[in-house]
Amino acid sequence: MIKVEGLYKNYGDFEALKDINLTIPKGSVYGIIGSNGAGKTTLLKTISGIYKPDKGFAKIEDEDIYENVHVKKRMFFVLDDPYYYHNYSIKEMASFYKSIYESYSDEKYENLKDVFKIDENKKIKNLSKGMKRQVIIWLALSLNTDVLILDEPLDGLDAVMRQKVKKIIFEEVLERQLTVIISSHNLRELEDFCDHIAIIHSGSVIKEKDIDELKNNIFKIQFAFSGDVPKELTEKLDILYYKQSGKVTTFIVKGDRKKAEDLILKYEPILLDIIPLSLEEIFIHEMGEAGYEKENILL
């Protein structure tokens, strides 16, 4: 389990991260969403032990990560723009990682070779951007670490490759409780990938939740009464958004879906429709509630 608590990180006068609290359970696929400049990369770099927290801590199983070789052996960080040594072939790069990570598995490397179908003797610098990404994911998975941190990993992969990579990662999660931390500014991408999600904006975590809870917890209700909308509804429901067009009222409500449904049914509506929101819509409304302009956060 990775725990981040009260984490602050400054670049000179600029506060890149402010009081971040996260709990990343073992074996989860944990998504960090935010726009460019929100602090995703800084957060990932702190979690992976590149940056030292200015305040607070980032720990894995109760051990600080920064400059802790023992703990860092258990994690691997895939940079958004993957680094490889100039002139190195895939094989050479693999043997470099092999010399550093004891957990490296030749078997995984060989297996993945069949999946990615890239010639291992090719120089990485000669590969296309998408292929470079595949290579780094191939290598990252061969390392067999407990934790994999991926910064915007699926950018530049085609749809088929994306599915493949996801499949492989899911397999690892299932097989050996691999913990994956993944950042993206693309909500859609994370929606069917992660089981937990943290939304980060200008250095703060706005929301951290199980993705399904997040989805269950906020929904759209469309209803119509023959008369006026009963007062009790507006009083008892946590309404984020309200729209009236003719007889039909649309609420976006936060809270328990069943309760809200029962409450409205009590007044015998002539129309009642409950629609789940897409993650993107949830995002917009959560942000709106937190007082952010949605344009600044959405992408």
């Binding site: 992976s48 070789v69 703990v71 940079l79 010399s99 550093i100």
Partner: protein, 553 residues
């Protein structure tokens, strides 16, 4: 107990694998410089004399038309750049620090890799040279070979460690190479050029040569470039070289550990070094700019000061631009005005008070002895012939007061050097030049009547007659060589007598004879000269009778 894991090999091996080619290249260069040359000598069957000369030539840094020190520097710095670029570039720095390797291990492994890359070429070439020497017939001392290769290793190593230091504190490769190069020359440059600048502002100041060669331990490049070549290994030298390497290593190590990884996107990774860089650049740019312009236009103090202001501004602005990575930094000039303020205060103190520079002559009772001459001779200032006579000292002081009055007179008619040695051990050195008029001649003639002045200025008075080997006499267009003892005696007497009785002096131009005394070689020791020969030149005025007497057989 957790198993402590050391990560020695991966980084080291990886770096060696990536950069062995640099080591191979260096080996090749050294091979061209020493073993190949020796082989050439053998194949050409040169004679022993030439061989000895060539030996000297081989075991110096004069190869590649004198560019050898520069090549050694470039190789050292390339190795540093190659190895340490990984921690200067954002991407690779993030990468290596995300791996389970401690900063300490990264640093030590990289330095170690550099040491190996440098050591191997020196070692291989040493072995090859030894083999050639042992097989052939070339009389080379083994200590010379060892000395050369150990010193080459040490020099390369120090330059490499400098490169490492600047790799830790800068993130721009060009700046890195430039600063590593500049740091070797900057102290010498500041001393030399700063001296020249001071001479423009204070023309009567006599610059002293300051020896910076003890800096060779930490800045070997300029020592190598100066043609002083390969230092000899002594216990003291070795200890100091090792200390300097240890110092460079420790300094870089501590800074690397302290360096924050997020600061990698700054040009200079430590704020306090920003200031060092900024003000050094400002100062140097001030000196260069003002010297070039003042030298070009040959103008006075005011214009030089204006050039200083412009030059320092340029330096400050450019360094600020480099640090901030912005073109427009006009809102960050506070530091420049502080610098300017300090410089102006310094200038005012320099020009108007005796705090930094003594404008007024010393008091007679402060002075122990004085050097005064129309020519400058460093050796004599340290000799025992200085003027100690109180009366003459008073005369010299009053002469100096008279000369100070000629502040804006810059003629070439008269010149005089005055060096006071004070009772408290201080020295005041002055040089005056201008059209000082008859008053100056009168005063100088008065001073020149003093016997100590004579001994100081006319070397021939300090020479025994018996040590003179021969005399060349230039009279009119003719040159006569005089070897006859009697005649030598005669000329010697005339000259000495003339000086002693104030018939001649070195003040005016009214002479017609140029006398060149050559001293016997076996008397060199007597006059504290270890090599070469002694010749004494004297200008005198002789009437024709005397000349005819001397020349006629």
């Amino acid at each position: 107990m957790r198993k402590k894991t050391y990560c020695f090999n991966p980084i080291l091996l990886n770096d060696l694998k990536r950069f062995w080619i640099l080591s191979a290249f260096y080996s090749f260069i050294l091979f061209l410089l020493v073993p190949l040359k020796l082989l050439n000598l053998i194949s050409e069957h040169v004679n022993i004399g030439e061989l000895i000369n060539s030996n000297n030539f081989i075991f110096t840094y004069e190869g590649f038309m004198g560019l050898q020190p520069l090549i050694i520097f470039l190789i050292a710095i390339f190795i540093a750049v190659a190895l340490f670029y990984e921690i200067q570039n954002c991407k690779s720095n993030d990468h290596i620090h995300s791996l389970p390797i401690s900063k300490k291990d990264i640093f030590i492994n990289k330095v170690l890799a550099g040491e190996i890359l440098i050591f191997i070429p020196c070692f291989i070439n040493y072995i090859i040279t030894e083999i050639i020497v042992l097989q052939g017939t070339i009389p080379v001392h083994h200590y010379k070979i060892i000395n050369y290769f150990i010193m080459t290793f040490i020099n390369t190593n120090i330059l490499f460690l400098q490169g490492v230091f600047f790799a830790v504190v800068t993130t721009n490769v060009f700046l890195h190479v430039f600063v590593s190069f500049a740091i070797n020359l900057v102290p010498f440059f500041i001393v030399e050029m700063g001296n020249d600048l001071l001479n423009i502002i204070l023309p009567e100041r006599l610059s002293e040569s300051i020896s910076l060669y003890n800096l060779k331990y930490i800045l070997p490049l300029s020592y190598m470039i100066e043609g002083r070549g390969v230092d000899t290994i002594t216990i003291k030298n070795i200890i100091l070289y090792i200390l300097s390497m240890a110092l460079l290593f420790l300094l870089s190590y501590i800074l690397f550990i302290k360096r924050k990884n997020e600061d990698i996107n700054k040009t200079i990774t430590f704020n306090f070094l920003n200031d060092v860089f900024k003000y050094t650049t400002t100062f140097i740019s001030m000196i260069i700019f003002s010297l070039i312009l003042s030298g070009y236009f040959k103008i006075g103090v005011t214009f030089t000061v204006i050039n200083c202001i412009i030059g320092s501004f340029l330096g400050y602005y450019i360094s600020e631009m480099i640090i901030r990575k912005e073109l427009y930094v006009f809102n960050r000039l506070k530091g420049y005005f502080i610098y300017l303020g300090i410089a102006v205060v310094f200038l005012i103190l320099l020009l108007n008070t005796d705090l930094i520079y003594k404008h007024t002559p010393p008091r007679a009772e402060e002075v122990k002895e004085v050097y005064i001459s129309t020519q400058y001779n460093e050796d004599k200032i340290n000799s025992s012939y200085l003027i100690k006579d109180k009366n003459t000292i008073k005369n010299i002081i009053s002469l100096q007061k008279y000369l100070i009055g000629f502040k804006n007179n810059r003629g070439w008619e008269n010149q005089v050097y005055i060096v006071y040695k004070l009772n408290n051990g201080d020295m005041i050195k002055r040089y005056y030049r201008g059209n000082f008029g008859n008053e100056f001649i009168t005063q100088m003639e008065e001073i020149s009547k003093n016997i100590q002045y004579k001994k100081l200025n006319y070397d021939i008075l300090n020479i025994d007659f018996s040590d003179i080997e021969c005399i060349d006499l230039n009279y009119g267009k003719d040159v006569y060589e005089v070897t006859d003892k009697e005649k030598i005696r005669k000329i010697y007497d005339i000259v000495c007598d003339g000086f002693m009785n104030n018939k001649f002096n070195n003040l005016g131009n009214n002479y017609n004879t140029f006398v060149n005394f050559k001293i016997k070689n076996d008397a060199l020791k007597k006059y504290n000269k270890k090599y070469g020969d002694i010749r004494i030149y004297v200008n005198i005025n002789l009437d024709e009778d005397t000349i005819n007497n001397l020349i006629k057989k």
